[in-house]
């Protein structure tokens, strides 16, 4: 065999041998034996090689579990004398420094408004925002959004995957968002609960993704009527650990489209998931929707794990074993949450300027409240509506001037005070005293109605007119 001589024999830096002995039984020539000297650096007793009869078969190399354990001897080097660092190198990777490809905003011609169901408006917003990947599991009352994308995405060579569960869904998003692409899901309360673990991982690994939760009645299976019972999950309960995400609360089909588009930009801007919290009523509501003046062709961020040379050095993980490392990572996340809190508080103030009483409501209840404000104003009662558009961060800044001035707040919600809790917490953190606070609450798919809001304000405000 002519090749025998050219096959390198093994060599070993003793400090990288863990003394498992696999190579000993692997060698057909009995060249390797358990050593007798403990290596002071490792505490192991490395094997000893006697290569006189070694034929370079390489079986021992294949049997050694350590990447830098047994290895083929380098040519023409007296390896006994060299420093492993020098031979092995200490470069982390040969991959290039990744470069971002920026997103592109492409102008749209002026278009007539569309007439769309809320869930459809959101799906179209996603398409315009450059989302071409959807993952989801069917759940009423969110499914129309998924169904529309199942029909439209393939026509744009996009991908629609019906996952085996919501748990699988969120993890597919972890992969696809981790690859640097814009992806989303539609879900409803029970499904959202199942996604929370994965959302925590996404936040930990700083992976963007858009979660559209059409909230329904709970707890448990509840029903498919509108509720706002997941505000606590979205604002305070995104899985385990120190997690937050921007939570957007649309209240018209128009906002279903606009805020879905915004959600993608925000998710990538902050490298964090974004939650859209809608309600069952809004998902089913059809209305006029104006189209934006642009759409987005997404680029590819520098941090993506895309599967190409440009991004080879990247890693997505949320595990940091060393306590100081994990503390530093949390500090970094806290910085990000602080930035979101400073930069993204959004609210819509309707006739609040001179209001003595202010209603606080979001989603569909905010529309009932808006109707009530109009009705009460017609009767001369000075009432306004404060409608948070971001539920987290709670828009405490625009609310602050009102808090000092108004006679009272009335929180109107389809739920047990979860919006009120966000308001109280935000005020308390800001050190602001609250004026008298009242509430109108309904559950189980029943929404607060305009007339009862009118009646409540009339009563609280002393029936003035």
């Amino acid at each position: 065999m002519a090749s025998t001589k050219t096959r390198p024999k093994p060599f070993l830096f003793p400090e990288f041998c863990k003394a498992c002995g696999r190579c000993i039984s692997a060698c057909p020539k009995d060249c390797i034996a358990m050593g007798s000297e403990i290596n002071p650096a490792t505490g192991f007793t490395p094997v000893e090689l006697d290569l006189e009869v070694c034929n370079g078969c390489g079986l021992c190399l294949t049997a050694c579990p350590e990447p830098y354990g047994l290895m083929p001897a380098p040519q023409q080097v007296d390896f006994e004398l060299i420093d492993p660092q020098e031979l092995l190198g200490d470069r982390l990777t040969s991959a290039p420094e990744p470069q971002p490809i920026p997103d592109e905003r492409i102008g749209l011609p002026p278009l007539e408004p569309l007439i769309l169901k809320g869930n459809h408006a959101s799906a179209i917003g996603a398409l315009l925002a450059g989302c071409r990947h959807f993952f989801g599991y069917p759940i009423t009352p969110s499914t129309e959004g998924a169904e529309l994308l199942a029909r439209l995405l393939p026509q744009l060579d996009g991908i629609f995957v019906q996952a085996v569960s919501e748990v699988a869904t969120v993890n597919m998003m972890y992969g696809c968002g981790g690859a640097g692409l814009r992806c989303m899901t539609f879900t409803s309360s029970p499904g959202f609960s199942l996604m929370l673990e994965g959302i925590s991982y996404m936040i930990g690994a700083e992976i963007p993704g858009v979660f559209f939760n059409v909230m329904r009645g709970g707890p448990g299976l509840g029903n498919i009527g509108p509720e706002q019972g997941d505000i606590k999950l979205a604002c305070r309960g995104l899985g385990h650990g120190n997690t937050h995400a921007i939570v957007l609360a649309p209240s018209t089909p128009q906002e279903m489209l606009d805020l879905t588009m915004d959600a993608f930009d925000l998710a990538f801007h902050y490298r964090n998931p974004v939650v859209l919290a809608s309600d069952g009523y809004l998902g089913q509501m059809t209305g006029r929707v104006n189209l934006p003046n642009h759409m987005v062709r997404p680029g590819l961020p520098e941090w993506a794990v895309y599967g190409d040379e440009n991004h080879r050095r990247n890693l997505h993980t949320s595990i940091l074993l060393i306590e100081a490392d994990l503390e530093a990572h949390n500090a970094h996340l806290n910085d990000k949450y602080d930035r979101m809190t400073r930069e993204q508080q959004r609210a819509d103030l309707f006739r609040c300027d001179d209001a003595d009483w202010v209603l606080v409501a979001c989603n569909t209840p905010a529309r009932m409240a808006r109707g009530a404000v109009q009705q009460l104003r017609d009767r001369g009662i000075k009432v306004g509506l404060f409608r948070p558009i971001t539920l987290w961060p709670f828009p405490i800044d625009p609310l602050t001037p009102l808090l000092e001035r108004v006679d009272g707040l009335i929180v109107v919600e389809a739920g047990a005070g979860q919006l009120e809790d966000e308001l109280r917490l935000a005020a308390s953190r800001a050190g602001l005293p609250l004026p008298p606070l009242h509430r109108i609450q309904h559950f189980g798919g029943v929404l607060p109605q305009q007339q009862e809001i009118v009646d409540a304000v009339t009563e609280k405000s002393g029936g003035a007119a």
Binding site: L59, P65, Q449
Partner: protein
């Protein structure tokens, strides 16, 4: 071996020996499998394209070592994460690397779906019959009688039987290649190297999903030396988990996964979402202020299948085409069939505030329960249209409310299509309320039925008959 990092910077910042040695215990099979993966990736020239998905388990830190794109997944979810990566970039070579707890316990649903989808991906399943990372608890693949920290007296039937993943997945249609190999001697190690190479090659050739189960040694938790552990796998595990190819259809498999490059052309997108710059024709001269100055509220109610939603939607579309804001909300009864189905519509000059219609200006009722339930909430000056074919004796309501019975069902049956009774009602509604001109509703109807011309004539006829029936009804009432 260039697919390993020159220095394991991520392993405790690469300090000291950690920069060049793994975190695995002496003799652990993971190191071997990493080595075979690394050499295959190098041989196939796919280092840049490879994404290694590491699991939760002892291999959670595979990304310390492999100089490829790395993603670390939640426990059991590596297949789902891998699918996300593969559909994001079909050129990526995705390797999902999982242990027995990860793949065969908590992640069963995900591996089943991945194998069912059969996307060209590579699964390496490390079966060492025990939980390593958490300290030696029972795995789904733990042998009967085997002692672990959670089976202190040995695994019994009460804890289930060892799960044979290669056999299970080998029966599925998705994978093209499924094999079980081992590491306990030179022959088996070579078999494993070849299997990993084949599995990755099939992905590089875009032919399909491969699954390689490797029987591996965990000397630490077996409390054996490495040579003893090798023997244990050979003598104890192999009889339960027979080695060999479980499925191989790779010879017939053809390259297939090619979803194309996502499109972002303006025209394509605008066309797809139905965008147009064509203004709808308007027929009305202004807002129907004879009903309300700024905000008109309507309720359509009937049984599921009465078509209340369809005409509610037509009304909303008509209003928006006329340039006003309008909303439609459907509400269904508890049963989707035969229950109540009602729709609330608002039409506003400016912006619809509350979209609910608890006290509508106009009610269209298709059956007695709907009329009884919603009729009393129609305010004075309001209009109620009901199907007199099914409501022979309407309840007495506020004298300020105009009640109009139109035999919608009869007329529809007469036209030979019971389903159009809703359009009959819509014709009557137009005539009774003059919400918008007749042409306005007809234009919306044409728009909605543009792909189904055959139905259009029938619907137009139904609309006209409804309007006529209203006029006849009011004539006979003498009003």
């Amino acid at each position: 071996m260039s697919v390993f990092y020159e220095k394991f910077e991520r392993h405790a910042h690469g300090e000291g020996l950690k920069g060049h040695s793994t975190h695995y215990c002496p003799g652990c099979g993971h190191g071997l499998i990493h080595k075979y993966l690394a050499e295959t990736i190098e041989d196939l020239g796919v280092q840049d394209r490879t994404i290694a998905v590491s699991p939760v388990g002892c291999a959670v830190f595979m990304y310390y070592y492999m100089d490829v794109g790395n993603t670390q997944a939640a426990h059991g979810r590596a297949p789902a994460v891998g699918i996300g990566h593969k559909v994001a970039n079909p050129d990526a070579i995705v390797v999902s690397y999982q242990g027995d707890g990860d793949l065969a316990s908590i992640g069963l649903a995900e591996i089943m779906q991945a194998c069912n989808l059969g996307l060209p991906m590579t699964f390496v399943f490390v079966n060492n019959a025990i939980y390593g990372m958490t300290g030696g608890q029972m795995a789904p693949t733990t042998l009967m009688g085997q002692k672990t920290t959670t089976t202190p007296e040995g695994r019994t039937r009460l804890m289930g039987e060892p799960l044979k993943m290669a056999e299970i997945l080998g029966q599925m249609d998705g994978p093209v290649y499924v094999e079980r190999t081992a590491l306990f001697d030179n022959k088996q190690r070579n078999r494993t190297r070849k299997a990993i190479k084949k599995a990755l090659t099939l992905q590089v050739e875009n032919k399909g999903l491969s699954f390689v189960e490797v029987l591996s040694e965990c000397p630490t938790h077996l409390k054996l030396t490495t040579p003893e552990a090798e023997r244990w796998v050979k003598e104890q595990m192999v009889p339960v988990f027979p080695l060999g190819v479980k499925k191989d259809t790779s010879a017939e498999a053809e390259a297939w996964f090619d979803p194309g490059t996502p499109a972002f052309g303006v025209d394509e997108v605008v066309d797809l979402i139905g965008g147009t710059d064509q203004k709808p024709e308007r027929f009305a001269s202004g807002f129907p202020t004879h009903i309300h100055d700024t905000d008109i509220s309507i309720k359509f109610a009937g049984a599921g299948g009465d078509g209340a939603q369809t005409i509610a939607m037509l009304t909303t579309r008509t209003a928006i085409n006329e340039g006003w804001d309008s909303t439609h909300i459907p509400s269904y009864g508890p049963e989707s069939r035969g229950g109540t189905s009602y729709a609330d519509v608002h039409i506003a000059t400016d912006e619809v505030l509350s979209p609910a219609s608890p006290n509508p200006h106009i009610l269209v009722a298709f059956n007695p329960p709907s009329l009884e339930k919603f009729g009393p909430h129609v305010g004075s000056g309001g209009i109620i249209i009901y199907d007199s074919s099914v409501v022979p004796s309407p309840p007495k309501l506020d004298s300020g409310v105009k009640m109009i019975g139109v035999p919608c069902t009869e007329i529809a049956n007469d036209l030979g299509k019971a389903l159009v009774k809703n359009v009959v009602a819509l014709g009557a509604l137009q005539a009774a309320t003059e919400l918008f001109p007749e042409e306005s509703f007809l234009a919306t109807m044409r728009q909605a039925l543009q792909d189904r011309c055959a139905l259009l004539a029938l619907n137009e006829e139904a609309f006209a008959r409804g309007a006529r029936a209203y006029r006849e009804a009011t004539k006979s009432n003498g009003s």
